[in-house]
Each structure stands twice: as C-alpha cells, then as structure tokens.
C-alpha cells in the first residue's frame, strides 16, 4: 500500500479513536472526505505516477474513502449509542415507596347516603324534590292532620320563629305542596304521584351522642288509583334492598301511629349486622326499626286537593342521618355537624 495512504489511514484511525462527539466526527468527515479533504488531496499527486500505478493508487484511495466513510459512520453510531446510554442513565431512579399525595376533597356523609337513596328511587320512577327548611304551621302540622293541641306542636319539640313560621320538624312538611304540584297530572292524565323529598329537619331538643337538633330525613310518597298496603310492602322491600345493597333483606310491618297515615306502620328490616340471627346491635331481636310509613290519611290527601275516595297512596320517611351513621359506623351524631375535617375528610366518593 502507498505510504501516504497508509499514513493517512493511520491518522484517521487515531483521530476517530480520539473523537468524543458528533461535532468532532462531522469535522473529521469534512477533513478527510470533503471536497478539499485529505483523501481527495491524495489524488492531486497522481500525475507523477505511471498508468499502472495510477490504477492501483486510485483503487487504494477509493478504498480509503469507503473505509473512512464506514469508520466515521460506525463511530457516529457508537457515539449516539453512548449518548443515549448516558441520557438514560442521567435520569434518577424515583423512590416509588414514597406515600402518594392524594390531596382529595370529601363529601358530607349525608350527601353520599342521600345520593344513593335518590338514585334508587329515581330508578323506580320517583321524582326527587327539594323543599324549604322554614315552613308554616299549615305545612308542618295542619295539612298533615295534626290537630292544634297535638303534643308534636309543643314548644319543647318545635322551633318556632318570631314571624310565626317554624323550622320544619319533619320532611312530611313538603307533602301538601307536592300533592298540589302534581295533583293535576294525577287527576287529568292519570299520572301517579311518585316523589321523594330529602331535607334537613329540626327538633328543639338537647344534643348528645344520639340526639341532634338538626338532622336529615327523606320522605317519599306514591299516590294513585288503588295504591295498596301490598304495594307499600313491595315498594319498601325492593327499594330498601337496593339502598342497603342487600338482596336478601327482610322487612316487616308493625302498627305505628302517625297522624298523617292510616293505617300507620313501623317498618323493621332484618338486622344488617347479624342478618336476623340476633346480636347486640339489634338487641337480639334480629330486627331493626327503620322507618315509619303508612297509607296516606284521607284528610291529608283531601287537604292536598286529592279525593281520597278515588285515590290512595302510601308515604314513608327515612332518616338519612341515621342511615349515614349506620352505614359508616359514626357513633356520635354531633360529628356530622361539627365541620371537623379530621372526621369529615374521610368521606370520599363512595360508589
């Protein structure tokens, strides 16, 4: 091999070996293979050579050219790979064992239970209604067949306001307005009234772990032609099974007295803890008194503009606050209105 070619080749090898960056390689490429590069420069000396020599020299220069191109590409690839490896390595390994920062908000537990109940009743065709917290004596008592001297009206039970209104003691206070709102559709279109109305209620009593003066209930009514006790039992059993997501739930009715229903019932469900076997939480009876209900009193229907000789209906009242306490094991009812985040922030979405 021609000495000049050999020298150049050795020089290239040394330069390539020393090259550390793609930029240096680009320089080498120009230096050796460019139009004015050293490989091309070799050809300038060809004039002095014989044809025979020219032939072999030219071949050797071309070989060097190919060799240079190949080696530079190889080196480029190696450098790129090393660069990538460095880049990959440069990223630190994160400590996945660090606890997550959830930064989550929370719902009031009554909201969660109320949503569950509303969803169940909506799925069974019940309208969800809202109602005010401050009502009149007519709404809370008179329209509900509660006579003027009934103990429920006593000052020790009801918060009366100085303008003559009162804080509603029961969600039933919305019944009359609901009947009046939907009676035309019932009478003219035969559309049964099916509604639930959750709301906050107030009782003038001293608070302790089991008693609150402010709590949530949800009332429900269904009025139509021939709505019967058998319908009430079916509806309550079905809806409560959904609310508790317990499809083996048993219900039973006992007589109960409430002025706005006749007959009136206390509805018991099989104990959710022991399933009816008997345990301390159901006082070994296997049953849990859950909700008052009954066939709407004829006077109450009449007061709502509905003829009790044509229509019948049932009504029930669920204690949402109580349901929330049962569901989440809240022992002290006062926690619910405390606003204490240590307690309340635990109630995240619960689907």
């Amino acid at each position: 091999m021609n000495t000049a070619i050999l020298e150049l080749r050795e020089k290239l090898d040394a330069a390539l070996a020393a090259a550390q960056s793609v930029a240096e390689l680009d320089g080498l490429k120009v230096e050796y293979l460019g139009k004015k590069g050293s490989v091309t420069a070799l050809l300038k000396n060809m004039g002095k050579l014989s044809d025979e020599e020219k032939k072999s020299f030219g071949r050797e220069v071309n070989e060097l050219k190919d060799y240079a191109a190949e080696k530079i590409a190889e080196k480029a690839a190696a450098l790129a790979a090393a660069e990538l490896a460095r880049e990959l390595d440069a990223v630190e390994t994160f400590d996945i064992s660090l606890p997550p920062v959830l930064d989550r908000g929370s719902f009031h537990p009554v909201t969660l239970v109320q949503r569950r109940c509303e969803a169940v009743f909506r799925s069974m065709g019940f309208q969800v209604e809202d109602y005010s917290e401050i009502v009149t004596d007519y709404e809370c008592f008179e329209s509900l067949n509660i006579p003027p001297f009934h103990p429920a009206r006593d000052m020790q039970d009801t918060y009366y306001l100085d303008n003559g209104q009162l804080l509603k003691t029961q969600t039933s206070a919305a019944q009359n307005a609901i009947y009046k709102k939907y009676k035309d559709a019932l009478i003219n279109e035969g559309k049964p009234i099916k509604a639930v109305f959750p709301g906050r209620c107030f009782r003038n009593e001293a608070t302790d772990a089991c008693h609150e003066n402010t709590f949530f209930q949800m009332e429900g009514v269904m009025v139509g032609k021939d709505i019967s006790i058998a319908n009430l039992i079916y509806s309550m059993k079905t809806m409560l099974s959904e609310v508790f997501e317990n499809y083996g739930l048993k219900v039973r009715l006992r007589p109960g007295f409430f002025p706005f229903v006749e007959p009136g019932f206390e509805l018991d469900i099989s104990c959710q803890i022991c399933g009816g076997e008997g345990c301390p939480s159901c006082k070994h009876s296997g049953w849990l008194e859950l909700c008052p209900c009954g066939m709407i009193h004829p006077n109450v229907l009449r007061e709502g503009g509905i003829d009790p000789d044509v229509y019948t209906g049932f009504a029930f009242g669920l204690g949402l606050t109580r349901l929330a306490m049962m569901k989440y094991g809240v022992k002290d009812i006062r926690d619910l209105n405390s606003g204490s985040l240590v307690a309340m922030s635990q109630f995240t979405e619960d689907k």
Binding site: S106, D162, Q165, N204, D226, R254, F257, E266, M295, S340
Partner: protein, 787 residues
Amino acid sequence: MYISMNWIREFVDLSGLDIMDLIRQFSLSTAEVENEIFHKGSDLSGVVVAEIRSVAPHPESKKLHLLKVDIGESEPVDVVCGAPNVREGMKTAFAKVGARLGEITIAPRPLAGYMSCGMCCSEKEIGISDDNSGIMDLDPAYANGTDLKDIFAIDDIVFEVDNKSLTNRPDLWGHYGIAREFSALSGRPLKALPVANLEAYASLPALDIEIENDDCLRYSGLKFDNVGVSVSPVNMRIRLFYCGMRAINFLADMTNYLMLEMGQPMHAFDSRKVESIRVRKFAEAFTFATLDGVERKCDENTLMICNGETPVAIAGIMGGLDSEIVADTTSLTLESACFDPVSVRKSAARLAHRTDASQRYEKTLDPEMTVTAIARFVKLLSEIDPGAKVTSCLTDRYNRSYECKTLEIDKSFVDRYTGIGDAITCDHIEKTLTALGFAVERDGENFRVTVPSWRATKDVTLKADLIEEITRIYGYDNFAPITAKSPLYPVRMELTKSVEENVKDMLVKRFSLHEVHSYVWAYSDEYKRLGMEVEDNVRLLNATNPNLSVLRTSIVPTELCQLKTNVGYAPEFGLFEIGRVVKGLREDGMCNERKMLCITLYSKTAELRDLYFRLRDMLAVLADELKHKALVFAPMAAEHSWQHPKNLNSVSCDGICLGEMGVVHPTVGKSIDKKASIVYAELDIEAFAKIAPAGIRYEEASRFPGMEIDLNVSSDTFAPIKESIDAAACPYIKGVRVVDVYRGEEGCAINVRISFSCADRTLTREEVQAVVDGIVADLAAKGMPLK
C-alpha cells in the same frame, strides 16, 4: 307499661296456646313489646309455708334468733333468723334446703356458730314485692309445707309494652283492653268484666258533686264506710309489683289496681275531708301540697277538685296531701272521672309532674268507663273486705261525651286498601271487628260498623281506621308484596338538584374541597370570639341555648367558625357548604330563605393574591363548566363584619347578581389564624341554577394558519385593554390571553397575546396589522401606550 299474662288470662282463656308466640303476634299487630320478657317465679322453687315453733335468743347476737321451724315434715328444722318481726306461732314463707331464690341455692350453713337449715323469707327475697322489712306473715290457715306457688300467683309471664306505641290507644292502658287484643288475636272470647250492680244503692243519699268547668267531661263518685282492711291481699300486691307499682295501703292499692286493670285512674279521698266536690279552676295562681308532700304551683289554667272552695286534688294528676287516705281512714269517697286530655297534658307539663294518671288522661280516655270502674271497684272491695259498706248512691255528673260513630264499609273498599283481594274474607272482617268490640251489621259484602266508646274518643273516626283494625289482626306478615300497576313516565332531574350535585362533584373532585354542614342559626359566642357580629334577623322563639337564637343571614360566618376549628388540620384546605340562610322577611312576612353555596379557602403557604385568584378561577370554572358562561366581577362596598373592604367583588352572570367573593376582614382573619390567608365566596345556588346554559356551539377548526400578536400595554388593569380589543369588533380575533403581568418600579404592564384566524383563507399581515393598529391607537388615547 308492664302486662301480666296471669291478669290477661283472667279475661281470656288462653289455655293450650303458645303464650310467647301470642306476645310476638301482639307486638306485630297491636303495640311494640320490649325484647326482654320476664318469666316471673321461674327462678323460685322450694319455698313453702312454715310455722315457727319456738324462738330462742342467740347467745351472742341481739339481732339473731334460734328457731325451730315446722316445714310440714316429720321433724322441725333449726334455723338462725335475723328478721325483726319473728315470733313464736307465726307462719311464714320458708326456703327449704335445696330451694332456689334467683341465683341463690339454699344449703345448710353455720351462722354465728349455729347451723341454719333453710331461711325464713321476706317478700323481697321471694321477688314478689320490694318489702324487706321483715319475713312474710302468712295466714295461719295455710298448711305447713304447702308450696307458696300453690297459694300465690307467683309464676307469671310479664312483658313491657312501649308506652309510645300506645299513644293513640287509650283503651290499651289497662289489662282488660290488652286482653281484648289477645282475644281477637287468639280467637278466644273475651270474658265480661265482673262488676257489682250499682242500682242496688240507688236509694242511698247522693254525694254533693258539681262540675263547674268544661275540662271535666264526667265525674262519678261513690262513698264507702267501714272499710276494715288496711293491707292488700298478697296476690293483689304481687300484680301491682309485677306491673311496676309499689303497694301503699289497701285503698290506694285498690285505685292503682283498678287503673292497671281498666285504664281508669281513680282517687280515694278520706271522706272526712271531702263533703262537697266542685271541679273548677281558680282565677289566680296558688300553691298546693300534693300527696307526695311536694308544694306545687297551680295556675289559673289548672283544673282542680275542691271540697267546696278548698282544693283537694289536681284533676287527673294527683291528689292532695290533706285529703289522702291515712292509717285511720275507714270512710272514703271514690272519684272516677274523665278530664280533657289537652288540659291534663298541659297542666302536667306546667307542673313538670307527669303521673300514671295524667299519662292516661292525655290519651283521651273513654268517659263511659267511669261508672263501670266504680262497679268493678265495689265488686272487688266486697270480695276482699265484706264489712265495707257503700253509703251513697252512684253520683254521676256527665258533662259532655264523645259522639257515637257509625261507619259503613264494603269489601271492595277493603280490597282497594289491602291490594290482596280475597286473602281477607268478609268473614275475617266481621269476626275481627266483632272481636275488637265493634258492633257489626253485615249485609253480604256491606258492613255497618258502630265504633265502641273506648275506641271512639279519637282513635277510630274514619273508614280508613277500620282498615287498620282488619289488616293488623290479619297480620302484615301475611301480606304478599305486589308491585303497583302504574304507567311509566320519565323522571326528570330537578334543575337546582342537578346543578347542586354537579357543583359538589366539581368542588370535591376537581378542587379537593371538603363539604361540611353547619347549623342554620348564628353562634353568637363564637362569632364574638372571632370578631363577627350577629346580624339582626328572624329569631327562634324558644331556643334552649340563648347563644343560638338568631337565624344566620349568611353561611360565611358559620363556616368561618368551622374553619377556625380546623386550623392545624393542614397548612392549606378549603371548605364548602350548600345550605340555607334567611335574608330577613319577604313582603308577605315569610322568611326570605335562600339556598347558598359558601366556599372558604385557608392557606398558610399561598400568597393572599394567589389564593384569591384560585377562588376566583374556581367560581369561573363552575360557571364555565355548568353554564358555558363567564362570570362578571364588580367591586362592591363592605357591609358585614367579616368582609375586608378591599377586593370585595359581586359575582354575576347574565346580569343577575349571584353573590360575592372577598377576603376575610383582618380582625376576623387574625382571630382565626395570625399567619394564614383566608378568602371566601358565597353564591345563591338557586339563582345560579336558573342561569340558562349557553350550550356547546361547535366551530370547525380553520385549516389556514393563524397569527398571534403580542402587545405589551402600560396598564395596571386588564379590563380597559379587553374593552379596546372588543371595540375593534374584529371577527378574526379568536382569543385573547394574558401572557404576563409586570408590576415594577417603572409602572405596570400587561402583556397580551391576541390570536387571529379565519375559517376560509389565510389572513394577510396587513389586514391583521390594521386591526392591531386600531387597538393600539385606542389604548394610547386612554393613556395606555405600548411599552
């Protein structure tokens, strides 16, 4: 109220029936029975009649005696006894060796050095009364060795009925009424109550009784002389004890016994103290000593029983101390009366003295019962004390009565209510109503039903009331659950409801806020502590706590109180509540109740400005997400103690003011936490719900390149810049963005980026520049040149 099954069985033959099952049925069909049922006497055995043959003093004890006791066996037994009333020849109750008294089994054991083989028992030790003053002193006629259970009705099943479940059943406040239920449930007949014939005394002189007030419906009286018995028979005392009452003396026990049996409260006056009975009220308040020795203040609304002008009893509540039966009473005037339920309830509440009698009168007792109760009293008295004499005729003042009700129902009416058709037959209807004391005239499927007096005082007045009677005895457990046949209709989500739920979801899930509930009234103590005023508003008339007597006008202060309790929970958190406030009265005098959303943000780490904008953007996101609309903020003047006067802005949408947002007043803020920033917002959620949503208006993305122009405007507010851009009214302006806000010594500048694009062509540099020039000129004219 406790019910003795022995007593019930006196009126209904329940032999051969499962008593426990009947009680369970009673609980499901009539009234709630408490879980624990007492099997009285079941833990007692081996107690017999024994005669004390000899009593010798114990050599080392003054209290103890050494007895020889004949227990009906061949040899008397040796017993050491400490009873004070022990005497030779006495017959007493004796627990033999091997006897069981509750937990104790009697075994021979040495007592103070002497063997004692058994025990002489007091009534308390046997569990038939709380009398532990001495050992029982039995009638000498009983043969030694006779099991006490063969003499006295010690074995009994006693259950407790929840009084609350009897609220509407005045007829169930005595055993006879309960027996009627057992009769209907078991299908066994109810026996007639054994009573004396009061006609026999018609010729005797009448008592001087006058009703002078309408709160007394009826007053019946009878006088007795020569009453010799002072201690009630054991069986009577056992029943009283099992039913939760103490034996006092024979006459008082008799009135209590009658009350427990018939539900009719009665009162026995010492005849020496009562000559002319007047039932009346007084014009002025006075104090009156009741027989429990307490001085009570009776006012002008309290109905009194008087001897002439002198009060001797508080009607329906309690007798007086001066006229009560005492040790030497042999002559009594018996009161069996009926008083107005509301009057009794209110008087008892005013006196803070609810008695067994008042509790019954409150339930609206049947006035027909007064005379029957007297007839029953006479019957029992003559059996127990044959020497006692009735010395007046029945004197009965019947002032007013309840209407006799007759109701007509037919089978189809029943079917409509029950929904289970022929599962309830006409025969069942007739049988049930008859068993419960209703007079039924049946004509095929039609029934004419007369309500008995004891159900007619308020309980049964309508046809629907009869449904309850028929169905509860049929048994609700026997109903098949059947779905209603009703047409299907879509259920629409109520507007406020759906907005409310969405707002809650966004605040919790997107902004990590915590939902809380606070009370609807202001907490004056805590407000004061935080430097907030309780604003004048609608008040509670009867707040138990004077600190909580004014309704809140805003949720902000109640939420700030809760925020205060959470300082230390985290360096940064936010609360929200959707709740009611009352903003004074409306024109019609009703409360102006509004449903508000209140948000408070607390941060120890964020700058006030950043926290403020975080809240501002939160509100903007709610409006954008739920209504696709922008909110408008405008400065307003502070009017509440919790408002910082600066940065207080009203929040509106579509020209409707929804509420406000602001910074908490520094005085309040510092009371909560000296080092934290606190901002709040309060919006009317119903007003917000009513804002019509703009909906989604789809605009196709331009396929032609757009252009962005940055302007750096000397201005300290963005609003005028936005106005100038809007004034250009250029349809190609698709967006305006604030890139940077500069506040420095050389004044303020806002860097605004305006994007231009056109749907159907590429905009030229020149046309865009022309628009920009217009905007720049407008700004310059307002004194806001480009930097």
